[in-house]
Amino acid sequence: MSLTETEEVHAGLNESGANDLLTAVFTARPRLLNYRSSLLVPGPPAATAAWTTMAAIPFPGLPGGVGWGVQFSIPVIDFHPDSSGGLPPPLALGARKFSLRTTVTLTLLCGTRRGQHDPDHPSAAVTPLRAKLELVGIGHTNAVYFGTPGQGEVTFDVDAVEIVDIKPDELETLLECLIRMLLDAALGAVRLPFHAVSAGAFAFALVRGPEIEDDQLKLYGNVL
């Protein structure tokens, strides 16, 4: 079977190449992986520019709200079929899907609201508490188009994540949902131009894809 099949151009990005691209993206733009509410959430990374700073979670009676941090490690992707050594149940890597492995570090700035009114806690110091979780996810890819027909980007959507061995199950489900939303949003910032998938070879207008199979992300198109 030919690579181009019924189209003129084929671009196949192997999972190792996809991971090289993701590593390049997140190394150049670490703020896409590191989020916090203030400088009180310590690094690494040390550089302020390596973080996306957002508001603390407001809560009545807590001046300044709840300080927080969320950090992901660079995800490692595996395109269908599974070559990662297996996924934790109930995840299964179906056709046209990818799996990913990453870690998430959740930080909570633990403090007190009493501050100077409490002789036992004369200052409002906060203590960062951290939990680092390994997680596995599955997802799929999409094509989004610019104004020009056939020109656009490949995006990654996370459909589900699994964190093993958190009890009770309700807490695991809650955390999985929270982290899936956050990871999906973080990974959604990665938009690979079609031409990047072919490393710039054979300028083409996308006709079909992205398709995930044979450990590759595949695009099919016609020469521009």
Binding site: T23, S198, N222
Partner: protein, 265 residues
Amino acid sequence: MSDVIAAIDEGGANDLVQDAEGALGTLSDSGSGSLGPFTATWSASATFSGGTADLIAPNTIRLTDVRMDYTVSFSFSFDLSSIIPDFCLPQVCVDIPFIGRVCTPRICINWPTVTIPVSHSSFVKFTADFNPSVTLVGGVWKVDLVAAGVPFLQLGPAAAAIITAIGAAAALVLLPIPFIGLVLAIAVAAITAAISIAGVLGLLGPILSPFVTGLSFTVYEQSQVFEVMPAVAPDAAVNVILTAITAAVVSTDEDELVLNIDLSP
């Protein structure tokens, strides 16, 4: 397996070659060479278009009926006396009554050196096999299709046209020369005969053949530092390194030109 596999079929390769021909632009050269018994200085330019790609595994891209449009301008100088013998009008004397003997001066015609400029534009089609060549020079990866051997150029019709053009140009140059009128046709015929078709081919071949010898069309060109995503404030550009590239023609149920590319972040 390579990080990136990019493939293009024969239909796409046709478009790719057309684009590469356009990107090659106009080639030009100049020099001097033999034009029959004369020495001509010349300048020439050529552009390429068309052709049909046939991908042949493992390493051949055959381009059929590539059209080379060219313009050749040349000029050659020679002593006209080498073509037409010099001659003298003898002194003529007559006796005129009451005046005496009157003689005309002896007039000798010494033909000048003339320069004949000729310009000829035409096209020639050729078929040639090309091989993919991958290079990394100065931090830039290129995949070129490089002509193998010396493609044959059928220049006979062009040579005949150029002989006609030489005759017309010679007539224009010679016409103003005093006393040429009687022998103009003879002179033009002598010039074109001296050069001959073989003489034109002897000049035209060495001018045009270098344009197709080693002819190269670039079908892939990227900096080794490949920009995946451009810089958008506040984010820096995202780059990867293209560490290795190979190119080959692969035949399955279809013939395709395939690039295998490896990356590193």
